[in-house]
Symmetry: C2
Subunit: 648 residues, 2 copies
Amino acid sequence: MTPRREHPVALPLENIDITGGLWGERQTINRDRTIPAIYRQLKATGRIDAWDLSRKRERPKRHTVIYMFFDSDTGKWVEAAAYSLAKHADPVLEKQVDDLVSMVQKAQQPDGYLNTYFTNVEPDKRWTNLRDWHELYNAGHLLEGAVAYSKATGKPALQDILTRYIDHIAERFGPDEGQRHGYCGHPEIELALVRLYYATGERRYFDLAKYFIDERGKQPSYFDMEARERGEDPADFWAETYRYCQAHQPIREQQTATGHSVRAGYLYAGVADIAIETGDAALTETAKRLWDDLTTHQMYITGGLGPARSNEGFTFAYDLPNETAYAETCASISLAFWAQRMFHLDPDGRYIDVMERALYNTILAGCSWDGEHFFYANPLASYPNVNPHEPFSGITSARHFRREEWFLCPCCPPNYSRVVGSIGTYLYSTTADTIYTHLYNDSRAHFALSGGEVQIAQQTNYPWDGEIRLSIQAAQPTAFDLALRIPGWCRSYRLSLNGAPFETAPSQGYVHIRRQWREGDQIALTLDMPVERMMAHPQVREDAGRIALQRGPVVYCLEEVDNGANLANLTIPHSSALTAVMDPDLFGGVSVITGEAVRIEPPTWSGDLYQPIDRAAPAAVPVTFRAIPYFFWANRQPGEMRVWIREG
Amino acid sequence: MTPRREHPVALPLENIDITGGLWGERQTINRDRTIPAIYRQLKATGRIDAWDLSRKRERPKRHTVIYMFFDSDTGKWVEAAAYSLAKHADPVLEKQVDDLVSMVQKAQQPDGYLNTYFTNVEPDKRWTNLRDWHELYNAGHLLEGAVAYSKATGKPALQDILTRYIDHIAERFGPDEGQRHGYCGHPEIELALVRLYYATGERRYFDLAKYFIDERGKQPSYFDMEARERGEDPADFWAETYRYCQAHQPIREQQTATGHSVRAGYLYAGVADIAIETGDAALTETAKRLWDDLTTHQMYITGGLGPARSNEGFTFAYDLPNETAYAETCASISLAFWAQRMFHLDPDGRYIDVMERALYNTILAGCSWDGEHFFYANPLASYPNVNPHEPFSGITSARHFRREEWFLCPCCPPNYSRVVGSIGTYLYSTTADTIYTHLYNDSRAHFALSGGEVQIAQQTNYPWDGEIRLSIQAAQPTAFDLALRIPGWCRSYRLSLNGAPFETAPSQGYVHIRRQWREGDQIALTLDMPVERMMAHPQVREDAGRIALQRGPVVYCLEEVDNGANLANLTIPHSSALTAVMDPDLFGGVSVITGEAVRIEPPTWSGDLYQPIDRAAPAAVPVTFRAIPYFFWANRQPGEMRVWIREG
């Protein structure tokens, strides 16, 4: 089962192997280090044992809500494990999952209900607070993990268990009399249900997803009603407004991306799914409107979303502070999910430009080079002693903002892991007779087109350079349209087909080569990748007078370890030449950017904290700077970091 | 009773009248608008009625600690009222205070104890949590109010009541066996006790102040012990560290200004008081060390202290963010208190420079031009929709950071009011034969020197210009040293005595004129007051590449109402001329600064949120800017504000 055939679909994971390059390296680390590290943490924090209902648990005194979404963390790890197992046999890992599946099976209630917290800890509270307690969100993540695992291993058990649970949910929630007209405070189940629909062909799962999206935000509010049933005043909602969970009005009436950014991204991805499948013009319009608002007003250059810690989300247009940026890793993941679906809804490279921005910057930054430390928030500037999301940092002792082994709320690590494991599905989309290339990375992909089966091998060192070679393998000549993405960041490129220049202007971000393809056809695409001085919209007050360095899709940053302290005093002149060079010794080989800058500082400072500038006599001292890819920051000795650099 | 005579002392309030000028205008508003507004709020919020113990009160469910320091708010209002009554009869106001005094009298317990909360609401909790519950802090503020009121009106009742209470405290706390070795989590009582000592001559009050300061931070910690007595684990202290309340080590061992900044300022003021009186060299050294740390590493150019909301206080050296600055009004008030005492301990104009900076910037900013709205936090940049201290601002609706009529924790409004009412005491200090002038403002002052009695009348439009005239009145020729402060911000000045130039280099910030003064002697001091482009220390990352405009002691800011939006794009070139002009229509007449700036913005923006700077093509458009005194910001239509302006 695939989406309506007039829309492109992602190439399934089983059709593609990542064979090297940056993503290959990240996948190896993911398999060898990240997935085991997450399992150890799930085990150590009781998330695995939570499935053993014979262990009676008490309501925790603090951070109770965290315990309510234990299951989602495990679900995401199962999904990450599934993608790894799909490509790389690992009996130890598979046994870990199978043991878990046995526990899950035993934990399922006779009526199909499946939730460790509301079965074991507060069974009387089941389905009493959809707004805050993540019950459907947990179901969604477990469902995604189940679908992925059953597909990867051919073992139906987990998907069967979850399908029973979803049937239970579908009975309880829906438009009919006797059903609850509710939906989850934290969207996620919507896109998971669409996935189950595609996996099973059962339309009722799609219908439930669509119901959740259509019902959301209607008046009278389900969340109001539910709060009153709990004896609470809905006005006491801790987050003050249902904008927090995008339930302040029906989705079709919403004008701006708002609220908790992960919730927003997942919801909007679900909206795109429904629009693809239904062709609903109003919903398509809504998805595009929210997309335009988010990407032109509320997105960091790193693809980070949501500047504010208070709501883990959006504030208002052009409010993009750097040092205090929340920019949760999960939010950028939700953006990538949504972007891919937007392309499928409306095939245009502009969506993939954003997907690429999120993947190559904030999402990759979510995990350390060693694969065992994670960022939850992803600021665009960092300063010793400052942890903007830890109230007493800089006060009790010197602390740096660094990746952590785990979090009280550990949504990001397994989310990162499942994206890396499934990165292959982001490289291509297809229709019956078109292959769209989105990302470039060493890989081998297999396509079943209306005209026959073909394979494409990619060879490239992308994103470190823009040389990309595609080799076609086809048992027999096959007609299709190969649509090669020319990224939005790319101002000039050269394309050749079997050594001869191929000159066609790209359309909506893609150069289309329609022909009868033959075994051994060679495409060489060179995307010119100079260092770009990027400027933010003039209403982004935090970035005024500053530039960010970007090369290809990769945003760069300065770190103190390379450039000394007081990075705020470093200015890159208009005229200075900027050079990208491969540093083979850095993180296994990455391109760094060097160039001439000036440090504008008084040679000495003998006055008070403040003094007239003519007395301070700042001098401009030429220095050579070195910038590294943002996504690998904080992997060496701690110190200052900044993306937006003074310019002038 | 006055301090040891080798140290200067402040001229008492009864010896000086403010006769006009900026402070005269603020005092009129304070009397007519601010003091009544605060009383209305005290009444409306139950702070007056709290003294009626016949009204049984329940423990509030939320914000309980706020209710525990109700008495301090009232104490500060009494003090403000006292200063006003000392200069201006007001039967209505005096009756309000007298009625309150009657209630206070009835509320005093047979043993002298006096606290509305711990008498009426939780009597069993008396003296069980000095760390958090502000009991001694309340006593301190009530005491200051009582001393001021009894002096202003000659009515001894309130001071007698408080003296009984202090005697009760002195019995309970102290070094002896059977006494508790405690001290307040929120310092304040120390300086209040010294004040009572000066008012009564009773040395035991001084000794108690000294005891509180000497005992603070000793090991084993009183706060630890007290927490264990409550059955709590001291490690669970919500503020994580006793640095929060400057009790992490004995004061003589403390190296840096740390923790909650109001607590710090009051404590350090008390430390200076003790050092003045005892001549304790180590304590003097400590006071100077903490002073140097605070003023050269941790002070905003506005005299604001404490960048962080989390601890309402200090973080680390050079961490001075502008938009999120906490910089509580009370903290700058505590700094002014401390600065004046530092001068008395170590007569040097550098302390008065800081006192002046705090008074003319953050402290004056604490109240609106209309006298009825107040700032608690005092950011140095503000942006529509951003209230950095209100978690959901910018999310639920458009809100500006503006002065409020009142606060849940309303410490700042009455604190501002008492400072304005007593501003006369900051103009002069004296020894037996020296008169130091600190601040310049229209005023008449009376001095009783060893050589006889003299009066000085000041005429000036300071801080709007630097012309100051002092006229001496003396019934007979009187010898004394007139020490005229040449502010640290002043690079050139002219001084004449009876029309003839008087040329002596200043020493430690003062020009000394020692002579036999006669009736009618005239001094004319002209402090050149050009607009200064101020630069921050090169490690202040937030201010890199920026200047602040200062003229005399007044720091200026740009407001959107004068300069349009997107103030971040405004740059003041090195070379542009800056002019100060009096605007008689603005806030009753203030100097504003105008000059040429450039707006660096792309004329149009047709691209994405980010684009290469060569495509954005920013242009520099010349504009005339207008800056107003920072302390009057947010008195017109809401919009952006910034103190630190791009320079280049």
